[in-house]
């Protein structure tokens, strides 16, 4: 019997991820590691990691990592790519990092159209700090700083990042995906592979938003959290390709 599915050869076999049960970060790390292995680009890949839960993955993927200040991965990735065109540069960021404190860096990196891949994990809250309201928190969704639920008049509407980025001229590939079931995880992996391949082909900026569960802060078990993606989160944040001008 042969192994037909297992750890990509370069993921750590001793650490395990530091994520909560069911968390989508681990899945996306794994998919990313698989893509890097399949494209044989491990030696030239640099991951620009953020602050927040997403930053926990640095060691686990066993890829060269730059630990960026909160929100700045877009700026760091832009500059690293501009000066190291042969490297594969990935900015991996959560929603607090990318859409709140890093909004300026995010939009300017996208607008410059630098040949990088941004992987944006949207779990509708600030996970690591304990479930505060994020720019992506749904209307009505309770968070520790919106205890009565996000209110349109008081807090404004959720930022739809994939839609926003797709409106800019420079980005070449923008899509929103999910990893709460295998079918969606397979699509997410294909999108990540497409983004990295575009980098290798010097085709330009790709933005891959991934809806992820946050069972701990959503106060739901992992299976109910997965249902919540299908039944609620993806209604505000529809899955699909928003731009593809490859």
């Amino acid at each position: 019997m042969n192994v037909v599915y297992g750890s990509p050869s370069f993921t750590s076999e001793v650490m395990g991820t530091g994520y909560c049960p069911g968390c989508g970060h681990g899945t996306v790390h794994k998919l990313l590691a698989e893509v890097v292995e399949e494209l044989s680009v491990r030696e030239k890949t640099v991951l620009c990691y953020p602050i927040g839960c997403a930053g926990l993955g640095g060691g686990w993927t066993n890829l060269n990592t730059l630990s960026c200040a909160h929100g700045r991965a877009g700026a760091v990735a832009t500059a690293v790519k501009k000066t190291n065109q042969d490297n594969v540069i990935i900015a991996y960021q959560g929603d607090g990092d990318l859409a709140a404190i890093g909004m300026a860096e995010t939009m300017h990196a996208a607008n410059r159209g630098e040949n990088i891949t941004v992987i944006f994990i949207n779990n509708t809250n600030f996970g690591m700090t304990g479930g505060q309201m994020a720019p992506t928190t749904l209307i009505g969704q309770k968070a520790t700083t919106s205890p009565d639920g996000r209110d349109l008049e008081r807090h404004g509407a959720p930022f739809k990042m994939a839609e926003l980025i797709a409106k800019l001229e420079a980005p070449k590939f923008v899509g929103r995906y999910a990893v709460h079931d295998a079918k969606n995880a397979i699509k997410t992996k294909a999108a990540i592979k497409k983004g990295l391949q575009m980098q290798l082909d010097k085709k330009g900026y790709s933005f891959i938003e991934v809806l992820s569960v946050c069972p701990t802060n959503w106060k739901k078990n992992p299976l109910d959290s997965a249902k919540y993606i299908d039944e609620v989160v993806s209604k505000t944040y529809p899955l699909g390709v928003y731009k593809d001008v490859e």
Partner: protein, 67 residues
């Protein structure tokens, strides 16, 4: 015959694999790992098709699939 192996220490008992399995032959069992999680197990190896869906959805790379 295809089968899966669950890494005891990596499994966090999230259960995503249990709903993903088309044959419904994975469940959260009674074995508890060092972190206190009841780990997933395959109940009827003979029905496993090696489809990999359980392993693909696993956030913790805890499942290895053999075929």
């Amino acid at each position: 015959m295809p089968k899966i192996e669950v890494d005891k220490e990596f499994c966090k008992s999230c259960g995503l694999c249990t709903v993903q399995c088309p044959k419904k032959i994975i469940k959260i069992g009674n074995v508890v790992n060092s972190k206190g999680y009841n780990i997933a197990e395959q109940t009827d190896e003979s029905q496993c098709t090696g489809c990999k869906l359980c392993a693909i959805v696993c956030p913790d790379m805890a499942i290895v699939v053999y075929k």
